[in-house]
């Protein structure tokens, strides 16, 4: 899933200051799971902005809220159609994709990002998410015991650890595990250390042209298009 953190209230306050009628739009998928922009966070933010406005005595914003099932899907974004005309700005609590998807559909309305989209990751424990995938476009997890060196090594290097690892941790952050120590131990356990002894050539950055598009094989086979 995509993991994000809500922006500080002051920053959101600064962004919305030129606008009067603000529609706060949440997202029912990743942003709900990571507590950054689901129904609950939309309601909290709505109240917090109202309270801040009352306390400061500045601004004459009016707020409304809506939560889409997914902000990255045109089918759901369509549901904002009747609301957009009644507001001056949309404050999206979707990830960066959601913000852009809404902006593409409603070109006459400014769309503001209410969260900082951080990474693709997994829930480690209650309320803790860890980054696991960098979307490099050439998955090599088969070679590395299911542990991604591109995501989990701060340098993203491919041929083993640097000399900065200490106590199994990374030189960049003493709390962070050294990916290559994890990879070594996992491959040893799987009796696949020969995979670590292989030479891996430099990455192919052509595998991640930006921006990238994937067309579903099922869709292209039936000749349908998202044109």
């Amino acid at each position: 899933m995509i993991v994000a953190e809500q922006k500080p209230l002051e920053e959101i306050g600064r962004m919305i200051s030129p606008y009067q009628r603000v529609l706060i739009v949440g997202c029912g998928t990743c942003m709900t799971v990571c507590d950054a922009g689901g129904e609950r966070e939309v309601a909290f933010l709505d109240s917090a902005l109202r309270v801040a406005q009352t306390k400061s005595g500045e601004g004459n914003h009016t707020f409304s809220q809506y939560v889409l099932k997914r902000q990255c899907d045109p089918e759901f974004i369509e549901m904002l159609k009747d609301k957009v005309g009644e507001v001056d700005v949309i404050l999206s609590l979707g990830c960066g994709i959601g913000v852009q998807a809404i902006a593409e559909r409603y070109p006459d309305t400014p769309v503001l990002p209410g969260v900082n989209t951080s990474f693709m990751g997994m829930a480690k424990e209650w309320g803790v998410w860890d980054e696991r995938c960098a979307a490099c476009g050439e998955c090599r997890l088969e070679e590395t015991g299911g542990i991604c060196p591109i995501t989990r090594c701060t340098k993203g290097i491919l041929n083993g650890p640097c000399a900065g690892t200490k106590n199994g941790k990374c030189e960049a952050n003493k709390e962070m595990d050294c990916a290559w120590v994890l990879i070594y131990k996992r491959l040893e356990r799987l009796q696949q250390l020969d995979k670590m002894r292989r030479y891996y050539p430099p990455r192919n950055f052509l595998a991640i042209p930006r921006p990238k598009r994937i067309v579903s094989k099922a869709t292209s086979n039936t000749g349908e298009s998202h044109g």
Partner: protein, 300 residues
């Protein structure tokens, strides 16, 4: 034929001594030049660090040019932290064109430990890939497979960490560097000769020269600081305790004594092929260390 004076020395079987200089932060190169002149005839080659610990400084290439101009033998330190493959290739072409033909290939410290923490880390290549890239360039092709007009030739070194607290993955990396074409290794700081001996039992199967890294510690405080803050370095408690026995203000003298003791033992007991002395900011004491270690003899 050797690609450099230093390569000739590596192949001579003699005990090898290299040292390194950290370039200035700024354009004032007077101290750098002073240290070059102090060392150029006393060691076999001088490394110039490449933004060591990710702290922005005058470039290694610039320091190596100064060494060359003043008649010394430079080792270009080249990390993968700040340049992608195009920039690395271009710098190597330039270095070769100016007679800088020794290169030490390093991954580079993390940007997070330095003074430009918000900079974009590059790491397009790692140290093993960098060595391979240079060997490819020597064949007359660039990394994309295009023909080049004029090919460089280098004497290639790399780094290894015999005192890593988890040595097995480091040895795998070492093997890969050897297979890629590294000819010599300057080790990370050695603070325990036992670990050097254990490493050499492993490394002696390969036809590469190992120079033991000797860090000149200036105080117990510096040793503790390095253990806590410098990537990979763990100064053992026994050595910190020994440094702590120094009278106030005499820490560096104690550090020099320890360095001399290590260098003499390494040389007399032939533990490895040479030493690489890192005085970290106290480059001026290196001649004194060489004198005391009885390595200041014949001009180099």
């Amino acid at each position: 034929m050797a690609n450099s004076k230093f390569e000739e020395k590596l192949n001579s079987g003699e005990f090898i001594v290299t040292s390194e200089i950290g370039p200035p932060k700024g354009t004032d190169t007077s101290e750098l030049v002073h240290h070059i002149d102090l060392l150029k005839e006393k060691v076999d080659a001088i490394n110039v660090t490449d933004h060591q610990s990710s702290v922005m400084r005058f470039p290694s290439l610039g320091g190596c040019l100064l060494i060359k101009e003043r008649g010394g033998e430079p080792i270009l330190q080249m990390t993968c932290r700040d340049r992608n493959r195009l920039a690395l290739e271009a710098d190597l072409l330039f270095a070769y064109s100016r007679g800088i033909t020794n290169v030490l290939c390093l991954t580079g410290d993390s940007v997070d430990v330095g003074d430009h923490k918000v900079a974009k880390p590059v790491f397009d290549l790692d140290s093993v890939q960098l060595i391979r890239m240079i060997r490819t360039m020597e064949s007359g092709k660039d990394m994309a497979g295009n023909d080049m007009k004029g090919a460089p030739k280098f004497c290639i070194g790399a780094s290894v960490h015999p005192e890593a607290d988890f040595i097995e993955p480091q040895l795998i990396k070492f093997d890969k560097k050897v297979a890629a074409g590294a000819q010599f290794f300057q080790t990370q700081g050695i603070f325990d000769l036992g670990s050097l001996q254990r490493f050499m039992q492993y490394a002696s199967q390969f036809n590469v020269k190992i120079l033991a890294g000797i860090i000149v510690l200036a105080s117990a405080g510096m040793a503790k600081y390095m253990t806590n803050n410098v990537p990979g370095i763990i100064v053992p408690k026994a050595m910190i305790d020994e440094l702590a026995t120094a009278e106030k203000g005499k820490g560096l003298q104690k550090g020099i004594q320890i360095a001399v003791r290590f260098i003499k033992t390494i040389k007399d007991e032939k533990l490895c092929h040479g030493v690489h002395i890192m005085a970290v900011g106290n480059e001026g004491v290196v001649p004194e260390i060489l004198e005391a270690a009885e390595l200041a003899g014949a001009p180099r």
